[in-house]
Symmetry: C2
Subunit: 110 residues, 2 copies
Amino acid sequence: MAELAATPTPPYWAVVFTSLRTSVEEGYALTADRMVELAAQQPGYLGIESARGADGLGITVSYWSSLEAIAAWKAVAEHGVAQRAGFQRWYRAFTTRVARVERDNHFERR
Amino acid sequence: MAELAATPTPPYWAVVFTSLRTSVEEGYALTADRMVELAAQQPGYLGIESARGADGLGITVSYWSSLEAIAAWKAVAEHGVAQRAGFQRWYRAFTTRVARVERDNHFERR
Protein backbone atom coordinates (compact mmCIF):
# COMPACT_ATOMS: atom_id res chain seq x y z
CA MET A 1 0.00 0.00 0.00
CA ALA A 2 1.41 3.35 -1.05
CA GLU A 3 1.95 5.91 1.69
CA LEU A 4 2.82 9.57 1.76
CA ALA A 5 6.01 10.51 3.61
CA ALA A 6 5.47 11.70 7.19
CA THR A 7 7.96 14.57 7.29
CA PRO A 8 8.57 16.92 10.24
CA THR A 9 7.70 20.62 10.45
CA PRO A 10 9.72 22.62 7.86
CA PRO A 11 12.34 23.65 7.13
CA TYR A 12 13.93 20.49 5.77
CA TRP A 13 15.35 19.49 2.38
CA ALA A 14 13.99 17.67 -0.66
CA VAL A 15 15.86 16.00 -3.51
CA VAL A 16 13.52 15.89 -6.51
CA PHE A 17 14.73 13.33 -9.07
CA THR A 18 12.71 13.28 -12.31
CA SER A 19 13.63 10.86 -15.06
CA LEU A 20 12.84 9.22 -18.36
CA ARG A 21 13.91 5.60 -18.68
CA THR A 22 15.60 3.76 -21.53
CA SER A 23 14.09 0.41 -22.50
CA VAL A 24 16.78 -1.43 -20.50
CA GLU A 25 15.07 -3.31 -17.65
CA GLU A 26 17.96 -5.51 -16.54
CA GLY A 27 18.90 -4.78 -12.95
CA TYR A 28 16.77 -1.66 -12.71
CA ALA A 29 13.95 -2.66 -10.33
CA LEU A 30 16.26 -4.52 -7.95
CA THR A 31 18.66 -1.58 -7.78
CA ALA A 32 15.86 0.98 -7.37
CA ASP A 33 14.41 -1.01 -4.45
CA ARG A 34 17.84 -1.40 -2.90
CA MET A 35 18.50 2.36 -3.12
CA VAL A 36 15.19 3.09 -1.32
CA GLU A 37 16.20 0.63 1.40
CA LEU A 38 19.74 2.07 1.64
CA ALA A 39 18.58 5.70 1.71
CA ALA A 40 16.28 4.90 4.65
CA GLN A 41 19.33 3.80 6.65
CA GLN A 42 21.19 7.09 6.23
CA PRO A 43 21.46 9.71 9.00
CA GLY A 44 19.10 12.60 8.37
CA TYR A 45 16.73 10.63 6.12
CA LEU A 46 13.13 11.81 6.60
CA GLY A 47 11.18 9.87 3.98
CA ILE A 48 10.67 9.14 0.27
CA GLU A 49 7.85 9.27 -2.28
CA SER A 50 8.10 7.77 -5.74
CA ALA A 51 5.88 7.34 -8.80
CA ARG A 52 6.32 6.38 -12.45
CA GLY A 53 3.49 6.94 -14.89
CA ALA A 54 2.45 4.93 -17.91
CA ASP A 55 4.08 7.57 -20.16
CA GLY A 56 7.50 6.70 -18.68
CA LEU A 57 8.10 9.83 -16.61
CA GLY A 58 9.24 9.02 -13.08
CA ILE A 59 9.50 11.25 -10.03
CA THR A 60 11.21 10.32 -6.77
CA VAL A 61 11.35 12.83 -3.93
CA SER A 62 13.51 12.05 -0.92
CA TYR A 63 13.47 14.22 2.20
CA TRP A 64 16.47 15.07 4.37
CA SER A 65 17.22 17.00 7.52
CA SER A 66 20.18 18.97 6.08
CA LEU A 67 22.42 19.53 3.08
CA GLU A 68 25.10 17.59 4.95
CA ALA A 69 22.79 14.55 5.07
CA ILE A 70 22.23 14.84 1.30
CA ALA A 71 25.97 15.11 0.67
CA ALA A 72 26.63 12.04 2.84
CA TRP A 73 23.98 10.01 0.96
CA LYS A 74 25.50 11.09 -2.35
CA ALA A 75 28.90 9.85 -1.13
CA VAL A 76 27.72 6.32 -0.18
CA ALA A 77 29.74 3.98 -2.41
CA GLU A 78 26.90 1.62 -3.34
CA HIS A 79 24.80 4.64 -4.30
CA GLY A 80 27.59 5.81 -6.61
CA VAL A 81 27.70 2.42 -8.34
CA ALA A 82 23.93 2.62 -8.93
CA GLN A 83 24.21 6.18 -10.25
CA ARG A 84 26.84 5.16 -12.78
CA ALA A 85 24.64 2.32 -14.00
CA GLY A 86 21.81 4.85 -14.27
CA PHE A 87 23.91 7.07 -16.54
CA GLN A 88 25.13 4.19 -18.61
CA ARG A 89 22.01 2.06 -18.98
CA TRP A 90 18.72 2.98 -17.34
CA TYR A 91 18.07 6.67 -17.98
CA ARG A 92 17.48 8.52 -21.20
CA ALA A 93 17.38 11.81 -19.28
CA PHE A 94 17.06 12.97 -15.71
CA THR A 95 17.12 16.10 -13.58
CA THR A 96 18.09 16.26 -9.91
CA ARG A 97 16.96 19.30 -7.94
CA VAL A 98 17.96 20.09 -4.36
CA ALA A 99 15.36 22.28 -2.68
CA ARG A 100 14.71 23.66 0.79
CA VAL A 101 11.12 22.99 1.91
CA GLU A 102 9.84 26.19 3.49
CA ARG A 103 6.27 25.18 4.25
CA ASP A 104 3.90 22.28 3.82
CA ASN A 105 0.25 21.37 4.22
CA HIS A 106 -1.27 17.94 4.74
CA PHE A 107 -4.80 16.65 4.26
CA GLU A 108 -6.09 13.27 5.28
CA ARG A 109 -9.64 12.05 4.84
CA ARG A 110 -11.21 10.67 7.99
CA MET B 1 5.65 11.79 -25.22
CA ALA B 2 6.61 12.65 -21.65
CA GLU B 3 9.14 15.43 -21.21
CA LEU B 4 11.14 16.75 -18.29
CA ALA B 5 10.59 20.42 -17.41
CA ALA B 6 13.19 22.79 -18.85
CA THR B 7 13.69 25.08 -15.86
CA PRO B 8 16.11 28.03 -15.67
CA THR B 9 19.25 28.29 -13.52
CA PRO B 10 18.34 28.20 -9.79
CA PRO B 11 17.13 29.68 -7.57
CA TYR B 12 13.46 29.19 -8.39
CA TRP B 13 10.54 27.58 -6.55
CA ALA B 14 8.90 24.16 -6.64
CA VAL B 15 5.46 23.10 -5.40
CA VAL B 16 5.58 19.37 -4.69
CA PHE B 17 2.07 17.90 -4.53
CA THR B 18 1.94 14.23 -3.51
CA SER B 19 -1.40 12.46 -3.26
CA LEU B 20 -3.37 9.28 -2.84
CA ARG B 21 -6.65 9.11 -4.76
CA THR B 22 -10.08 7.91 -3.74
CA SER B 23 -11.85 5.57 -6.18
CA VAL B 24 -13.92 8.49 -7.55
CA GLU B 25 -13.00 8.98 -11.22
CA GLU B 26 -15.80 11.33 -12.26
CA GLY B 27 -14.41 14.65 -13.41
CA TYR B 28 -10.89 13.94 -12.22
CA ALA B 29 -8.91 13.51 -15.45
CA LEU B 30 -10.59 16.43 -17.21
CA THR B 31 -9.98 18.73 -14.25
CA ALA B 32 -6.38 17.59 -13.82
CA ASP B 33 -5.66 18.28 -17.50
CA ARG B 34 -7.37 21.65 -17.27
CA MET B 35 -5.29 22.64 -14.22
CA VAL B 36 -2.06 21.79 -16.09
CA GLU B 37 -3.25 23.96 -18.99
CA LEU B 38 -4.31 26.80 -16.68
CA ALA B 39 -1.10 26.74 -14.62
CA ALA B 40 0.94 27.11 -17.81
CA GLN B 41 -0.84 30.40 -18.51
CA GLN B 42 0.10 31.99 -15.17
CA PRO B 43 2.85 34.61 -14.81
CA GLY B 44 6.01 33.09 -13.36
CA TYR B 45 5.17 29.51 -14.43
CA LEU B 46 8.36 27.61 -15.32
CA GLY B 47 7.16 24.05 -15.98
CA ILE B 48 5.48 20.97 -14.57
CA GLU B 49 6.24 17.27 -14.13
CA SER B 50 3.65 14.71 -13.09
CA ALA B 51 3.46 10.95 -12.52
CA ARG B 52 1.05 8.50 -10.91
CA GLY B 53 2.17 4.94 -10.25
CA ALA B 54 0.21 1.71 -10.36
CA ASP B 55 0.09 1.74 -6.52
CA GLY B 56 -1.98 4.95 -6.62
CA LEU B 57 0.63 7.40 -5.35
CA GLY B 58 0.83 10.53 -7.49
CA ILE B 59 3.43 13.28 -7.58
CA THR B 60 3.08 16.58 -9.42
CA VAL B 61 5.87 19.14 -9.23
CA SER B 62 5.24 22.60 -10.66
CA TYR B 63 8.02 25.18 -10.94
CA TRP B 64 7.65 28.92 -10.37
CA SER B 65 9.80 32.04 -10.52
CA SER B 66 8.76 33.39 -7.11
CA LEU B 67 6.56 32.90 -4.04
CA GLU B 68 4.36 35.68 -5.40
CA ALA B 69 3.74 33.65 -8.58
CA ILE B 70 2.75 30.64 -6.42
CA ALA B 71 0.39 32.80 -4.35
CA ALA B 72 -1.22 34.20 -7.51
CA TRP B 73 -1.74 30.70 -8.93
CA LYS B 74 -3.28 29.60 -5.63
CA ALA B 75 -5.70 32.56 -5.84
CA VAL B 76 -6.99 31.73 -9.36
CA ALA B 77 -10.74 31.13 -8.91
CA GLU B 78 -11.00 28.09 -11.20
CA HIS B 79 -8.06 26.53 -9.36
CA GLY B 80 -9.91 27.03 -6.07
CA VAL B 81 -12.98 25.23 -7.43
CA ALA B 82 -10.80 22.29 -8.49
CA GLN B 83 -9.08 22.21 -5.08
CA ARG B 84 -12.40 22.02 -3.27
CA ALA B 85 -13.50 19.13 -5.48
CA GLY B 86 -10.17 17.48 -4.67
CA PHE B 87 -10.84 17.73 -0.94
CA GLN B 88 -14.42 16.55 -1.28
CA ARG B 89 -14.10 13.77 -3.84
CA TRP B 90 -10.81 12.86 -5.46
CA TYR B 91 -8.14 12.65 -2.76
CA ARG B 92 -7.84 10.31 0.19
CA ALA B 93 -4.75 12.21 1.37
CA PHE B 94 -2.30 14.73 0.00
CA THR B 95 0.66 16.86 1.00
CA THR B 96 1.67 20.14 -0.61
CA ARG B 97 5.23 21.34 -0.06
CA VAL B 98 6.63 24.69 -1.17
CA ALA B 99 10.38 24.54 -1.65
CA ARG B 100 13.13 26.78 -2.93
CA VAL B 101 15.30 25.01 -5.52
CA GLU B 102 18.90 25.85 -4.68
CA ARG B 103 20.70 23.77 -7.29
CA ASP B 104 19.99 21.32 -10.07
CA ASN B 105 21.75 18.95 -12.40
CA HIS B 106 20.55 17.64 -15.77
CA PHE B 107 21.62 14.64 -17.83
CA GLU B 108 20.50 13.87 -21.34
CA ARG B 109 21.64 10.92 -23.40
CA ARG B 110 22.87 11.85 -26.86
